[in-house]
Point group: C2
Chain length 417, copies 2
C-alpha cells in the first residue's frame, strides 16, 4: 500500500519497515545501533550547525534560558548521545523472551513470548536528545518510531533523523523504521494521535499540558509518562538525621526532574522536634518554602501556601510544607494532590510504614528512602523509557520490556475441541 | 467529595468503595462472592420477573431471536450464574502477588506487587449474564465496577445489581463497589467513556461497532476485546485428516463466538488434494461457502466471495475460501484482513510452521490446532475476562491478573542519591 497523502505515506514507511525489524536478530539490531553511535560522533559539525539555527530562532522568539539549554547540542553532548546509544546496545533484547507457558492436558503447548509493538509514536518538546533516545530504544525493542519533536528543535531533529536513517541502512536494516513528522506541524501531531492502524502506542514526553492534550485527543493507546507532585511524609517517629537527609536529597539533588519532592508533610508530634531543622537545612540549600499556618508559626521565613502550592510540580527549589495531625491526614492530602508518581514516608514505626505502603496509590511508594530513586537506572533497568503514571500496561519506571507486547504461540498435533 | 451531579455521585460511590476493597483479604472477598451466589439462587423469581419485562419489550421492539435468547434468564441459567460466581471463588487472588523484585547495591529492597486497578467500567449489550460475570471478576480482583448493560436488559440488570449490592453488604463489604448506570441512557455511556479519575479502565464487550465507538470516544484507557476475523491456512504439506478435523472444528464447533474461523486459505498445491473433501465436510455440516475463482472451479456449490466476505466476522455457519499460491500470499491475506485475534496453520512442514508463528501478528498464532482453543478456560486461567485484541497491557485471553495493575514498594534505611 502506498499513500498519496504524504503524511500517511511517511507513517506507512515506518510501519512497513517495522514489520521486517520485528524478526531480525539482536546482533543485527546492535550493529545498527553501533552504526548510529559512530555516525553521531562523525557528524558533530553537521549537527551543531543545524542546532545553531534552532538556537538562533529560539533566541529570536525569546524562549527562555532553560528551554535554550535543553535545546543546545555541543560536542560533549553529542558524544554523550553516542554513549547513550552504546548503553542501549548493552541492554538485553526483550524480544523473544518467553514470559510464561505450559503444556495443556491435551498435549497442546502454549507459550507467551515478547514481540515488538510495531511502531512507537513519540510526541515531545524541544529536546533533540529525546530523538536519539527514543529511536535507539525503539530499534532495540524491534519497533519502528515516528517522532514529533516540535518546531523549536526542527532543524536539529531533521539532521538527527536523517543521520539515524543513513546509519541504520548502512548496517543493512531498513532506515525507514525511524521517521520524523516535524515538518507537518501541529496538524501532523494531531493526525499522529489519531493514526490507529499505523501507530501502536503513543508516548508523550514533556509538560503536564502536552501530556494531558495527548491523553484527551489520542485514539491510539497512550502510555502516560509523568509529571510528579511528589510527597515526603515525616512521621511522628521519624529519626531526625534520616528525615533531614532524605527530605533534603529528595528536594535538592535535582529539582528539575519528576521524582524530586514537591511537598513536605510533617506529623504534628514531630513538627516541634524536626521542622525547624528541616526548614533551616532546606532554606540553607536555597529552597523557598511555602507552608500552612502551623508550619509558618513554627518556622520564620516560610511563605504562605495556597491550593496552587499543593497542586504544583515546581521543577525548582520551591517546596510546600504542611503539618498534619495524623497518618490519615497525610494519606488524605496525598490522595487529593498526588499525581501518583512517587511518595515516601520517613518513619521508625513498622505499622505506619506498612500502612503507607499498602494505602498510597502511586506508581512507587517508599519507606525511608529518597524519592530520587524512582528511576529506571537506579532500579537496574539500564536505560529508562520514561516513568509511567498510568495503571495500564506499565506503571513506574519503564525499561525495554515495557516497549513490547506479547503474543501466544500454540503448537499442536491436530487437537480439536 | 459528594457530587451534586447524580451520575458523578454514582461513580464516586464506586470509587470510594473500591478504595476500601483494595486492601481487604481474599477470605473477605470470597465470602462476598459466596453471598452473591446464594442470593442469586434465592432470587430466581425476582430475576425472572424482571427479565420478563425486558423480554416483553424486546419482542415488542422485534429485536430478533438471537438477541432474545441472549437476553433470556430462566432458573437453569440463573443457577449457572451462581455456579460461575463460585468458579471465581476458586480462582487464586492476583492482588498482592509479587511480580518481581530485587535488592539494590545500596541495600534498598524493591518489589513490584499486583494491586487492583481501582474501578473497572464495562459497556456491553443486552447480556445480563455479563453483569454478574464482570461484577464477580472485578470484586475478586479488588476492583469496583461500573456497569452499562444497555437499555434492552435494563430491568434484569437493575435487579441483578441491587442483589449484588445487597449480598456484598451482607458479607460485610461495601456494596457500593458495584454500580449500574443503565438509567442514565446513552448520555451515561458517553460520560462513562470520559470519566477519567473515576474509572481506571474501560472494557467494551459486544459488536464490532460498539467496541469501535468506545475505542474512538473514550479518554479512559480501554482494553479492546475482540471481534475475530479468524483464518485457518492449510499448507501444501497438510495431512488430510488433520486439515479436515481442525478446519471443521474451528468453523462449526461454535460458530457464534469470536474464536470461530471465518476464512479458509488453501495452498494451491493442496487444493486439488484437499479442497473437495474440506468443502464437502463443511457443507455437510451446514456451512455456506463463498470462494474465489480457483475454489469455485474446484468445488461446485461454492458462492462468489467479495471484499465483504474476507472482512466479515459471520457469527454463523458461513465461511470464505481462497486458494493462495504460497505461504507469502497467505500471510499477506491475513495481514490485510485479520482482526489480529487468532490464526492457525495446518502443516507438516517445520519451516512453514515456524515462519507462520514468527510472522503472523495476532494475539494467538497456532500450528495444527483448532482456533477454538483461544479461550481463558482452555489456557488454564479458570474464568476469562475477555480476549484482548490490543497490544497494550494484555493480549489474547485475559485472566484475573489482567484486571490488576502493579505498584513498586521500596523499603530503605535512609538511602539518598
Amino acid at each position: 500500500m502506498s499513500h498519496a497523502d504524504p503524511f500517511l505515506a511517511r507513517l506507512e514507511r515506518a510501519r512497513s519497515a517495522s514489520k521486517r525489524l520485528a524478526t531480525v536478530t539482536t546482533t543485527q539490531k546492535n550493529a545498527a545501533l553501533e552504526s548510529i553511535a559512530s555516525e553521531l560522533e562523525d557528524s558533530v559539525d553537521e549537527i551543531v550547525a543545524a542546532n545553531a539555527i534552532d538556537l538562533e530562532r529560539g533566541r529570536a522568539n525569546a524562549i527562555g534560558e532553560g528551554l535554550l539549554d535543553r535545546l543546545r547540542l555541543d560536542t560533549d553532548r553529542i558524544r554523550g548521545l553516542a554513549a547513550a546509544v552504546r548503553d542501549v546496545i548493552a541492554l538485553p533484547d526483550p524480544v523473544g523472551e518467553v514470559v510464561r507457558g505450559s503444556t495443556l492436558a491435551n498435549g497442546i503447548q502454549i507459550s507467551q513470548v515478547r514481540v515488538p509493538f510495531g511502531v512507537v509514536g513519540a510526541i515531545y518538546e524541544a529536546r533533540p536528545n529525546v530523538t536519539v533516545d527514543i529511536a535507539a530504544l525503539s530499534l532495540k525493542s524491534g519497533n519502528g518510531a515516528v517522532l514529533r519533536g516540535g518546531s523549536a528543535a526542527e532543524h536539529s531533529n531533521r539532521v538527527l533523523v536523517e543521520l539515524i536513517q543513513r546509519a541504520v541502512s548502512r548496517a543493512g536494516l531498513d532506515g525507514d523504521a525511524v521517521q520524523t513528522i516535524d515538518e507537518f506541524g501541529r496538524e501532523g501531531a494531531s493526525r499522529l494521535m489519531r493514526a490507529r492502524g499505523f501507530i501502536d502506542v503513543l508516548i508523550p514526553r514533556g509538560s503536564a499540558g502536552l501530556i494531558s492534550t495527548v491523553v484527551q485527543e489520542s485514539t491510539v493507546p497512550v502510555i502516560e509518562t509523568g509529571s510528579g507532585v511528589v510527597h515526603v511524609y515525616v512521621d511522628a517517629s521519624a529519626e531526625e538525621g534520616m528525615a533531614v537527609s532524605v527530605v533534603k536529597n529528595a528536594k535538592t539533588h535535582r529539582p528539575s526532574v519528576c521524582n524530586a519532592a514537591e511537598t513536605l508533610l510533617v506529623h504534628r508530634d514531630a513538627a516541634e522536634r524536626l521542622l525547624p531543622r528541616l526548614a533551616r537545612e532546606l532554606m540553607g540549600a536555597g529552597v523557598e518554602l511555602s507552608g500552612d499556618e502551623a508550619s509558618r508559626s513554627a518556622v520564620p521565613g516560610v511563605g504562605v501556601a495556597d491550593e496552587e502550592t499543593w497542586a504544583t510540580e515546581h521543577h525548582a527549589l520551591a517546596m510546600g510544607v504542611r503539618v498534619v495531625g495524623s497518618l490519615d491526614e497525610a494519606l488524605a492530602h496525598i490522595e487529593r494532590y498526588s499525581t501518583r508518581h512517587t511518595e515516601a514516608i520517613v518513619t521508625q514505626d513498622y505499622a505506619s510504614a506498612e500502612r503507607f505502603l499498602a494505602e498510597v496509590d502511586s506508581a512507587v511508594v517508599m519507606v525511608n528512602a529518597s524519592t530520587r530513586f524512582t528511576d529506571g537506572g537506579e532500579f537496574g533497568f539500564g536505560a529508562e523509557v520514561g516513568i509511567s503514571t498510568q495503571k495500564l500496561h506499565a506503571r513506574g519506571p519503564m525499561g525495554l520490556p515495557e516497549l513490547t507486547s506479547t503474543k501466544w504461540l500454540v503448537r499442536g498435533t491436530g487437537q480439536i475441541r
